[in-house]
Symmetry: C2
Subunit: 211 residues, 2 copies
């Protein structure tokens, strides 16, 4: 069902995103932005393979292409999961709440939906952090002719992380399970720090090799 996003033309996707229809929203768009960031890092890894000047990095570049291709596929699945999590949440709001039993069932479904609508964007964030890490790995050795695109990938993926995290921030206050909340908050802080550091490392190498 990832055709809801990736099977559309870019024109169609943008037309839907800018319209008043609630999907695609910030979570999905962040995931698509992340795939674009990953694609730039992957391109530079691809441009490093089969080149005499980079023969000593051949295996490393191939590993990075494989890893980034897997990341892109994972993001496509997460984009779809994010839309489904949104649909699930909306469905819960339409559940009946006349009897006490209905109220209880609705409240429980609401908690489950809120956790799911937190976990999916958090997984998108984790994947974004992996992209920035791949960019930091590639920046010191990737094909110099296209090295600025590693910078594009690092910046775009780090922003996708910060954007997707807004979906986490929206849903977290409605979750009652405080162990879950504490875990998410710790992971949130860790991801911001890790991605920021890797972005700065990547950009430092990119600038050095551009100049």
């Amino acid at each position: 069902m990832s055709d809801r996003v990736y099977g559309k033309t870019v024109n169609e996707f943008i037309a839907e995103a800018m319209s008043s229809s609630p999907t695609p929203g910030g979570g999905n768009v962040s995931a698509v932005v992340a795939t674009l960031g990953a694609s730039m890092v992957c391109m530079v890894a691809n441009l490093t393979i089969g080149k005499k000047a980079y023969v000593e990095f051949e295996d490393q570049a191939k590993e990075q292409v494989a890893k980034l291709s897997e990341i892109i596929e994972r993001l496509k699945k997460l984009t779809n999961d994010d839309m489904e999590a949104f649909d699930q949440y909306m469905a819960v709001f339409r559940m009946p709440k006349s009897t006490d039993e209905e109220k209880k069932a609705r409240a429980e479904a609401m908690q489950a939906a809120a956790k799911n609508a937190t976990n999916v964007p958090l997984d998108i964030c984790k994947t974004c952090a992996e992209i920035v890490k791949e960019a930091a790995k590639l920046a010191p050795y990737g094909n110099k002719m296209a090295i600025s695109d590693v910078g594009v990938g690092a910046m775009v993926a780090e922003t996708a992380l910060r954007s997707a995290m807004l979906s986490v921030d929206i849903n977290l206050p409605s979750i009652k399970d405080q162990d879950f909340v504490a875990q998410v908050k710790a992971e949130r802080a860790r991801l911001f720090v890790e991605a920021e550091e890797n972005k700065l490392l990547a950009l430092a190498d990119v600038k050095k090799r551009m100049g």
Copy 2:
């Protein structure tokens, strides 16, 4: 000819971007990322129209939708211009350079191509700064239910600006016209400062209204 990007499915565009083919590269991808950012701001403006709670902002929201729609169309054209500027640059490298006359013609064409390959991403950057400005305008009054997506738009567009500016930074050192170089550098600094300020303003309002 914007079908080279926007007429493709998102899947096809990503497959091309991650491949070793030099286009689409960082410039085009930054422009697409910017359209995604603009689409999020536009969506929230659209969600503010026709709602009782926001009736006093109706005209302002409509103006913003019109402005952002125009920005998105402009970015589509700039994406195409960026690909053409790259093609033009590559064509100059293939020009003959046997005679003095050929060398002179080639050097002149190279300077023109370098200026064009600087102006187009700079125009992309200017357009990104406009998106962030629209986000800062919308953040204080846009539909609260989707206000986090204004934050997504502001962050994504500011990063698209920084990403597209790497294309400026690559081409600027090869330009001999020092007046041109000085103007671009001044504009570069101005855009970074303006977009950063507007992003922070937008995010401050978004966080306030999310909590």
